[in-house]
């Protein structure tokens, strides 16, 4: 249910009910906040940047095939 709130897929009715519950439940508030933070921190940090040179290598490979066929 909390995950649906995170994903924005809850109905307005359920949202209201959840928000009411969150007002009095520290456990759910912590769950919600830390889950949101988990997603955010993975979104905003590039863990595997494209290494230099990979794009050029691919470019060369594509052009080589293109010359042979297109």
């Amino acid at each position: 249910m909390l995950d649906e709130l995170i994903d924005g897929t809850v109905s307005a009715e359920t949202r209201t009910r959840l928000e009411e519950h969150l007002g009095g439940c520290a456990h759910c508030v912590v769950t919600l906040n830390t889950t949101r933070k988990t997603i955010e921190v993975y979104r905003s940090n590039e863990l595997y940047a494209l290494p230099k040179g990979v794009r050029d290598r691919l470019h060369a490979a594509i052009v080589a095939r293109c010359k042979n066929g297109c």
Binding site: I6, T34, T35, N45, L50, I62, V63, C70
Partner: protein, 207 residues
């Protein structure tokens, strides 16, 4: 959280025109597709294979395969969805090669006790990532996600990092929608619990 806007009706996805031009022989159109998606494809491959060399090869092979089979590409499926499917399959092949004898697949459903019951629920400091340098943080995040099964990692990356819909993710991975949902929940739960070690506030948690 951002939701994906699905373009429907007359509005054509911009990739459709690029694919058509590439099929007609315009190599620049295909290169535009590469520039658009190479980072994501590399990231997905790296998350599955956990090996930089393999990820580079996967990215290369996925685009080359896509280029060769472009005329067979069915327009009813999105180009990116199709491309990710190719990259996921290539990644799994390489992962299997490196772990001979070990079963590796995206649909292997791993039952873990971990994360099923949230224990030790601690609140985090307001901006917990600020206690670490960029390099330290990236290291923590990599280490944390690497501990998850491959099928969980890739679902989390497609859904929560790339922001794709549950349906698209299911199609890309050849999984059912409920399977994607259940994996995503468990991935989030496990990541959150593992990150707590680093991010919890010093004051301690909620009982």
């Amino acid at each position: 959280m951002a939701t994906i806007q699905v373009t429907e009706g007359n509005e054509q996805h911009p990739d459709v025109a690029l694919v058509a031009s590439a099929v007609a022989g315009d190599v620049h159109a295909f290169e535009a597709l590469i520039r658009k998606y190479d980072r994501q494809i590399f990231r997905i491959a790296q998350h599955i294979t956990q090996n930089r060399e393999d990820a580079e090869d996967v990215m290369q092979d996925a685009f080359l395969k896509a280029y060769e089979k472009l005329d067979q590409f069915q327009g009813n499926s999105k180009f990116y969805t199709w491309l990710v499917r190719i990259a996921v399959n290539e990644s799994l092949m390489r992962l299997r090669k490196r772990r001979t004898g070990k079963m590796v697949s995206i649909d292997e459903d791993i039952e873990t006790d971990e994360g099923s019951v949230p224990r030790d629920l601690a609140d985090w400091s307001p901006n917990p990532e600020q206690n670490y340098s960029q390099t330290e943080l990236a290291k923590i995040l990599r280490k944390t996600i690497q501990g998850l099964p491959p099928g969980f990692r890739v679902v989390f990356v497609l859904r929560d990092v790339d922001g794709l819909s549950t349906e698209e993710t299911a199609e890309m991975l050849g999984l059912s929608v409920p399977a994607v949902k259940s994996r995503l929940l468990r991935a989030r739960l496990q990541l959150r619990e593992r990150l707590s070690r680093y991010f919890r506030s010093k004051k301690g948690g909620v009982e």
